[in-house]
Symmetry: C2
């Protein structure tokens, strides 16, 4: 299986075995100019690997309508209104499976990382936005149309600010607890960005520690919703801003422990994701294996 | 199958066939004094039906830990810290299945009512509190420990008031969009309770219409979370306060149409539940059939 992970700056690919092992990893820049240039780069990524591969899995930063076979909209990639699986499948002559990058990360962490051995697992990817992946009753859950689990777009503040970036809602978890939220808080403290805020927090700067704790508490409220609805065994937090680790997870855990319902609040473990930058490629491959088996 | 529906005022029971048809329905008051009196009443409800029944299904207003075989806590019934299925099964000599009343209502509406023919369906029961039932990928979803889908306890306002009634959280949908919320709003308008508020709204009282629309908008924000996470085909609203119907659903629908993500906001239908007061007994029976088959 060839796994492809589409990020805002690069398209990573590799050969993924059913056990999640990765070989022949490589990457190329993500073309931002036109959809055709972007599609050509995806095709090149596949053709860069030896022929004879059974299928291709692509993880995209997109909402997907698997019923209408259509990528609805994407963040940080010129990709919308196209049947990506159909297009690539025709160009390449092999089955292509397309999945949301949050689902893909969730599947990788579930099979190989922080969610190993669980039946009900939630992945939150804190980057510029917040992506999510749900494993329910031992299966990846993608919603009625394959677009589900936009956990970053749970409403946590009915009076909150507009979400933006293609989302018409407001007060969503993504607006208040993502890397973008960290950037905003950083600016208020006179720091360059969220990364500088996390660095300051690690150095023990009390204002940074407090600010990150505040973001963690809102993240925790989002997790209260997740725990009350799903009662998962594990919630794993990854992504660039997720590397803030205990600076945000400590207060998130505290909110869940005091505000979520029993038995969920006792059952859940809130942990950092375990897989690194390769998780996207591996997860794209694993997601495609799963969809291939589901089709068979 | 004997189905039993435990409500705050009465325990209803009946014989439920696998197709959901109901016979020999009857009811008795819900004892509120002691857990033993309550358990005796449940046992009497079963023994009031002819012997030879294969199994019993009980829908309770409770959070259940199906892994630890324990009712964790209940609302409006003296029932906590007990293995209800084990206790009743031993007393009665037949398998007993216990499920949350929100799940039970969801299963009934899915098989016989507003959710017929769907694979992904969400039931919201607006009573004193808010109960929820989830059908995901064609199966009732109960979370990792069988306690899941407490949709009334999604956080919709991180700065909101305490939830109360045994829940340690705050700003939950239940606090802001249940019958209790309607009571509070009614008092502010000098009306007796939520029922009077709904009556006034039906009579065209503009303040009542506006107030109910406001509750509907918060309900709609909760539905935005549901749509963005699950992308269900149908959300059905039932329960005593749910009878406010279009007075709340109109504005809820508007919020979902303008603030939820594509494709979910176009895919979802938001409708009133179709089944009446018998839904609880029928759903308890259907839930037990499903759990019996899952065990087999």
């Amino acid at each position: 299986m060839i796994g492809i992970d589409v990020g805002g700056t690069k398209i990573a690919s590799g050969l993924v075995s059913e056990d999640g092992s990765l070989a022949a990893a490589n990457e190329r820049p993500t073309p931002q100019g036109s959809q055709q240039a972007f599609l050509d780069a995806l095709e090149d990524a596949v053709r860069g690997h030896p022929e004879g591969v059974a299928a291709v899995g692509v993880g995209v930063p997109s909402r997907i309508d698997q019923v209408a076979h259509r990528v609805v909209a994407s963040v940080h990639a010129p990709l919308a209104g196209i049947d990506l699986a159909g297009y690539l499948g025709e160009r390449l002559g092999v089955p292509v499976f397309v999945d949301n990058d949050g689902n893909v990360a969730g599947i990788a962490e579930w099979q190989l990382g922080a969610g190993r051995g669980t039946r009900d697992f939630v992945m939150l990817t804190l980057g510029t936005g917040i992506g999510g992946g749900l494993i329910l009753d031992g299966h990846p859950y993608r919603g009625a149309r394959g677009a589900g689990a936009e956990l970053g777009h749970m409403v946590v503040d009915v009076n909150g600010p507009p979400c933006g970036d293609g989302c018409p809602g407001r007060g969503h978890l993504e607006t208040l607890a993502s890397g973008r939220a960290a950037d905003r808080v950083a600016h208020e403290l006179g720091l360059a960005d969220g990364r500088a805020l996390v660095d300051a927090g690690r150095d023990g700067d009390s204002r940074a520690v407090e600010a990150l704790g505040g973001i963690g508490r809102i993240l925790g409220q989002g997790m209260v919703t997740i725990v009350n609805v799903f009662v998962p065994e594990v919630i794993a937090v990854g992504g660039g801003f997720g590397r803030a680790g205990e600076l945000i997870l400590g207060s998130a855990r505290e909110v869940v422990a005091t505000e979520a319902l029993d038995p969920g609040r006792h059952a859940v473990r809130i942990v950092q994701a375990e897989l690194g930058a390769e998780a996207g490629v591996i997860g794209a491959g694993l997601s495609a294996f799963e969809l291939l088996h589901a089709r068979a």
